[in-house]
Symmetry: C2
Subunit: 380 residues, 2 copies
C-alpha cells in the first residue's frame, strides 16, 4: 500500500503493537469418538493481536492432524516464529495485504493462518466498530440453527444425548460412522431415526473410516432413512473412488478431508464426486477464503456444511457464526463445538436457545474473551 | 431476518425513509465513437436512498442497450416501479437480503439493480462510518492507475489525445477497433504504438464489430505490437467463434459483452474462449456480484479488466474505485469514465494525479454528491 488505509473519518489507524500465539488444552465434557481417534481434550491455538490503542483481537484454531496435517506444537511454532513477527508495526486495516504476506510466508499451516486472520478480523471490526460479517460482505441471516454432532461410544448414549438435545430444540444431527462394525453403524442410524422421528434432519460422517464396499452396503441398508448427506466416507486422496460412489448411491456425498482449498472444490465438482462440501476455516487458512469458496460453490451448485473442528471454544465458534451470517448455499448445516468443552474461554459462551443461535452483532467477533480462563488452560 | 442487524454498539439502524430513481443526461466533452454507436451524452440512471436519520446513499448506472439491453427509460421505470418501492421502511444494513429481493423481483435489468446496490452500499458505509471497500471484503490496494480509452473519429486525434494523457502520467491505453476499415485499424494500432513507445500498455476493444476473418487478419498484422488483450471482437453470443479464435491467435482474448454473470464466466472458461474478462457492475447487477465473480476468476485463472461504462460520473466511478481496492486478478486494468463528461455530479471529481487515483477512504463511496448539478442534468 502506498497510501494509508484509515479509520472512519480519516483518522490514522493504530498500528499493531504486538501479536502473540499461545497453546491451550481444554478438557472436553466427555471423550469424543471419531474414526481413528478418541479426543479427550481440545488442543487449540490462540492468536492475540493488540493495537497501539489497546484494542485486542482474538482468533482460534483447533489442531486437527488428520485434517490439516498440523499438530498443536507445529501450529504454535509457525504462528510464533513466522506469522506473528510479520504483523508487528503494521496497519491492521491492511488485513488483506497482511494475510497475503502470511499466506505466502509458508506453505500449508492453514490452522495457524486461520487463527491469525480471525484475530485480525476481530481487531479490524473492533477498530471500525462493525461486526466481522460486515467486513466479509454483509449478513444474509442473523440466526443460525446449529447441527449437533453425535460421537458417543455406544448408540444408546447417542440416542439419549440426541433426545436431550431434541428437547432443547435441536432439529439437525450428524452421526459418526466408520467407527464400529458396519452392522452396528446401520443399527445406530436406524435407531436414531426411530428415536428422533422424521422431523429432524440426519446426516452421517465417515471421517475417512469406510471403504467403498462399506459405503455401498451402508447406503443400501439406510437408503430409507432419509440422510441429507454422507460425509467423507473414503480417504481424502481418493477422488476417483468418491466419484464412483457418487454415481452409484442415492445418498448425496459430501467432502470434508478432501477439500482444503477452492482448487479442491473445483476438482471435486469437475469429477462429479460430491453434491456438497464441508468448509472449515482451519482447512482454508481463514474466514475470507471460506467466503470466496462459497462463491465458487454457488456457481458449481454445491451445498455447504460450515463447521468448526471439535473442540473450538466460543472464540472460534464466534468466527464461524460470523461466517454463518454471510455465506450462500449454507443448506447443509452449521456445526459449532464449544458445547463439547467442559469450560469456555469467553465471559458469555455462545450458546443457542431453543436450537437457534443469534449471531453476535457487536464489534469484531462480538465476544468478550476471559483472559483468566485462557491463563488456566494455557500449555506452557 | 428474525433478529435485527444493528448499528455498531447495538444502536437500532435507521430505516430507509425513501428511495428515488432519476434519469440524467450529461454531455460528453466530445463525441465518443464505438463500434456501431456514436455517443454525445451520458444517459444515466441515479438512485438516491435516504435513511430516517437523514443519511443519503447514491448509486449510478450508465444505460448501455448493446450491453445490458436496457434503455435509460426502461432503467428508470424498473427502478421507480419495482425496485425502489421494495426498499421503503427497510433496514439498510440488511443489504444482502434487500438485494436478493431486488434481484428476484425482475429478470435482468442489471443496470438499475446496480444503481440500487451502489446506493445501498454507500448508505451502509455512511451509517457504519466505513468505506465501501471494507464492506466488500477489504482493500488489497489503495491506489489504482486507470487505463485511458481512445475513441476519436481519426487516428491523428487518438495519437494527440494519447500523447497528452501520457504526459499526465497515464501508461495504459485501450484502442477501439471495429469502427474503421481493417487496414485503417491496423494503421491506427501501429501509429499509436510508435507514438507512445514500448513502455505503455496497449490493448484493443472490438465491441463486437469484427468478424472472425477480420480478427485473424488484424491479429496477424499487429502481432508484433504487444497488445495485452483483444476484447470482444465477435458478437456476444458467438462463444464457439471466440473459442476458435482463442486457439488460433497469439493475442489473449477478453470477453465483455459476452459476460454478464458468473455463469457466463464459467462457460467462457470451460469453452477456453478467453484468457480474461471485462467486469462491469451494470452487467452483473451490482458491486457484490462483481466481487463474487472475481473469486471465480481467481480459480479459473482469468485476468480481470474492471470498467465503468462511458460515461458514468464520479458517483459510478467511486463505486468502481471501491471495487478496484478489493478485487483480485485485476491485472488487465481499470477504466474510469468521468473524465469524458463535460461536467460531473460531485463536489470534488474523482481524478487521477500523475496517472494514479487514490481510492476514496471516507465513509461509503467517499464522495460528496452535488445535488444542484444533478438537478441541472436531470431528464424530466
Amino acid at each position: 500500500m502506498s497510501q494509508d488505509l484509515r479509520l472512519p473519518l480519516g483518522a490514522r489507524a493504530p498500528r499493531i503493537r504486538r501479536a502473540d500465539a499461545m497453546a491451550v488444552s481444554i478438557p472436553l465434557r466427555k471423550p469424543m469418538r471419531m474414526a481413528g481417534v478418541r479426543l479427550t481434550h481440545a488442543e487449540n491455538l490462540l492468536v492475540r493481536i493488540e493495537a497501539e490503542d489497546g484494542s485486542v483481537g482474538w482468533g482460534e484454531a483447533a489442531s486437527a492432524p488428520t485434517m490439516t496435517g498440523d499438530l498443536q506444537g507445529s501450529m504454535l511454532t509457525a504462528a510464533t516464529q513466522v506469522f506473528c513477527p510479520l504483523l508487528g508495526g503494521q496497519n491492521p486495516l491492511d488485513r488483506v495485504g497482511l494475510m497475503t504476506r502470511v499466506d505466502r510466508a509458508m506453505l500449508r499451516n492453514t490452522g495457524a493462518k486461520c487463527a491469525v486472520e480471525e484475530a485480525l478480523l476481530d481487531l479490524c471490526g473492533r477498530l471500525l466498530k462493525v461486526p466481522v460479517y460486515e467486513l466479509l460482505g454483509g449478513a444474509r441471516r442473523d440466526v443460525v440453527r446449529p447441527m449437533h454432532l453425535l460421537g458417543n461410544d455406544s448408540v444408546e448414549d447417542d440416542v439419549d444425548e440426541a433426545k436431550a438435545r431434541r428437547a432443547d430444540g435441536v432439529d439437525f444431527f450428524k452421526i459418526k460412522v466408520g467407527v464400529k462394525p458396519l452392522s452396528e453403524e446401520v443399527r445406530s442410524t436406524r435407531l436414531l431415526r426411530e428415536a428422533l422421528g422424521w422431523d429432524v434432519v440426519l446426516c452421517a460422517d465417515g471421517n475417512m473410516g469406510l471403504d467403498a464396499q462399506d459405503v455401498l452396503d451402508y447406503c443400501a441398508q439406510v437408503a430409507d432413512q432419509k440422510l441429507l448427506f454422507l460425509e467423507q466416507p473414503l480417504r481424502s486422496d481418493d477422488l476417483r473412488g468418491m466419484a464412483r460412489l457418487a454415481a452409484r448411491v442415492s445418498i448425496p456425498m459430501c467432502a470434508d478431508e478432501s477439500v482444503g482449498s477452492a482448487a479442491d472444490v473445483m476438482a471435486l465438482a469437475e469429477a462429479q464426486a460430491v453434491a456438497g462440501v464441508n468448509l472449515k476455516t482451519i482447512k482454508f487458512g481463514g474466514l475470507s477464503a471460506v467466503v470466496h469458496a462459497s462463491h465458487l460453490c454457488e456457481q458449481l451448485g454445491l451445498h455447504i456444511n460450515l463447521a468448526c473442528k471439535v473442540g473450538e471454544s466460543s472464540i472460534g465458534c464466534a468466527g464461524l457464526a460470523q461466517l454463518g451470517a454471510v455465506m450462500c448455499n449454507l443448506d447443509w448445516g452449521i456445526n459449532l463445538t464449544n458445547h463439547y468443552l467442559a469450560d469456555d474461554l469467553v465471559v458469555t459462551p455462545l450458546l443457542p436457545t431453543g436450537g437457534a443461535l443469534a449471531i453476535p452483532s457487536g464489534p469484531g467477533l462480538g465476544i468478550e474473551v476471559d483472559e483468566a480462563k485462557i491463563d488456566r488452560y494455557r500449555v506452557r
